[in-house]
C-alpha cells in the first residue's frame, strides 16, 4: 500500500543528453527543468492520476479542515481555494514569541488545475483523511473504455 505514491513517478520528462544526466546525478536537481515542477513551498501540493473510469486529484493539505477548502469545477478547470491559519500566535500579552523556523505556508491560497476533457463534474465526490483530500471526477459514460466483441461472419 505504501508503494502507491511511487506510481506517480513518471521518470524523466524527456530524453536528456548524457552530460546533463550526469550533472543531474550529481546535483539532484531534475525538477528544475521539469515544466510540471512547482516552487518548493507551494501549498497545497497536488497529484492527479487517471484510472479507466475516473480522474482522481489528491490535494496534500495538512491541517486544513474540510470546511476550509472550496473546490470548484468549471470548464474543465478545477479550482481550489482556502485558507490556513498560522499556527504561531503571539503571547497572551501580545509580545511576539521567538521563532526559529517558519517553513509552513499560511494564509489564503488559490490553485487551479486543468483537467482532461470528458469528466462528469455533476457526479464528482471529495473525501478527506489525514490531511489529504481526494477528489474523484468520474468520466462520462460514453468516454469509458469499452471492448468490442468480434462477431462471427
Amino acid at each position: 500500500m505504501f508503494d502507491d505514491i511511487k506510481r506517480f513517478e513518471t521518470g524523466s520528462p524527456q530524453q536528456l543528453d548524457w552530460f546533463r544526466q550526469l550533472l543531474d546525478g550529481f546535483l539532484h536537481d531534475g525538477d528544475a527543468m521539469d515544466l510540471r515542477a512547482v516552487p518548493r513551498g507551494s501549498f497545497p501540493m497536488i497529484n492527479v492520476a487517471r484510472s479507466d473510469d475516473a480522474v482522481r486529484v489528491y490535494v496534500f493539505a495538512a491541517g486544513l479542515s474540510p470546511s476550509a477548502l472550496t473546490i470548484d469545477v468549471q470548464d474543465n478547470v478545477l479550482t481550489l481555494r482556502g485558507r490556513r491559519d498560522a499556527s504561531i500566535a503571539s503571547n497572551e500579552d501580545g509580545s511576539a514569541r521567538p521563532v526559529f523556523r517558519r517553513e509552513r505556508a499560511s494564509g489564503e491560497f488559490v490553485r487551479a488545475v486543468a483537467l482532461p476533457d470528458g469528466l462528469d463534474a455533476e457526479r464528482a465526490e471529495a473525501r478527506h483523511a489525514h490531511g489529504v483530500f481526494e477528489i474523484v471526477l468520474p468520466k462520462r459514460e460514453e468516454l469509458k473504455p469499452r471492448r468490442i466483441e468480434v462477431k462471427a461472419a
Binding site: 506510481r7 546525478g25 515542477a37 492527479v48 496534500f60 495538512a62 517553513e103 509552513r104 481526494e134
Partner: protein, 132 residues
C-alpha cells in the same frame, strides 16, 4: 558475450535507481517556536497517520519519520505529480536544555505537533525584587 552486454546495459539503470532512492523521502515543512517553558515544533506531514508515524530520540537527535498512507485504487496512472515521495523524514539536533523524557507528540489531520519541555534549570523564572 551475451552476459557481458547484459551486465553493462543493466548497471547504469541500477545505479540510477539507487540515486533516485533518496528522493523518495520528502522533507516536511516545520515551524519551531519558543514559549516560556517549552519549544513547540509543528510539522506538515499530509497523509501520515497515527500508525505510520514514528518519533524517536536517540542521543539528543530527534527523528521524525512517517509513511504516506493513501488509499488509492489499483490501475491508476499519473497525469501530474508534485508529491513524488512516499515518506516524510527529518532529523533535528536537540540542545541540552530540552528534557528528552518529557516530549509529547500528537498528529491531527496530517499536522504533527511536538511539545519539547525545557529542563527545570533552563526555565524562565521571574525574580522578585524585595524592598530594601
Amino acid at each position: 558475450m551475451n552476459n557481458v552486454v547484459r551486465s553493462s546495459s543493466h548497471s547504469p539503470r541500477q545505479q540510477h535507481d539507487q540515486e533516485k532512492r533518496p528522493q523518495d523521502t520528502l522533507l516536511p515543512a516545520v515551524d519551531i517556536v519558543e514559549e516560556s517553558d517549552v519549544l513547540k515544533l509543528v510539522a506538515d506531514m499530509p497523509g501520515v497517520t497515527h500508525e505510520s508515524l514514528t518519533v524517536e530520540i536517540d542521543n539528543n537527535v530527534l527523528s521524525l519519520e512517517g509513511d504516506i498512507a493513501l488509499n488509492m485504487p489499483e490501475g491508476l496512472s499519473a497525469l501530474h505529480a508534485e508529491v513524488r515521495g512516499q515518506r516524510f523524514a527529518r532529523r533535528f539536533n536537540l540542545s541540552h536544555e530540552i528534557d528528552g523524557d518529557a516530549i509529547t507528540a500528537t498528529i491531527d489531520n496530517g499536522v504533527l505537533t511536538l511539545t519539547l519541555p525545557k529542563k527545570d534549570s533552563h526555565r524562565t523564572r521571574r525574580i522578585d525584587v524585595q524592598a530594601a
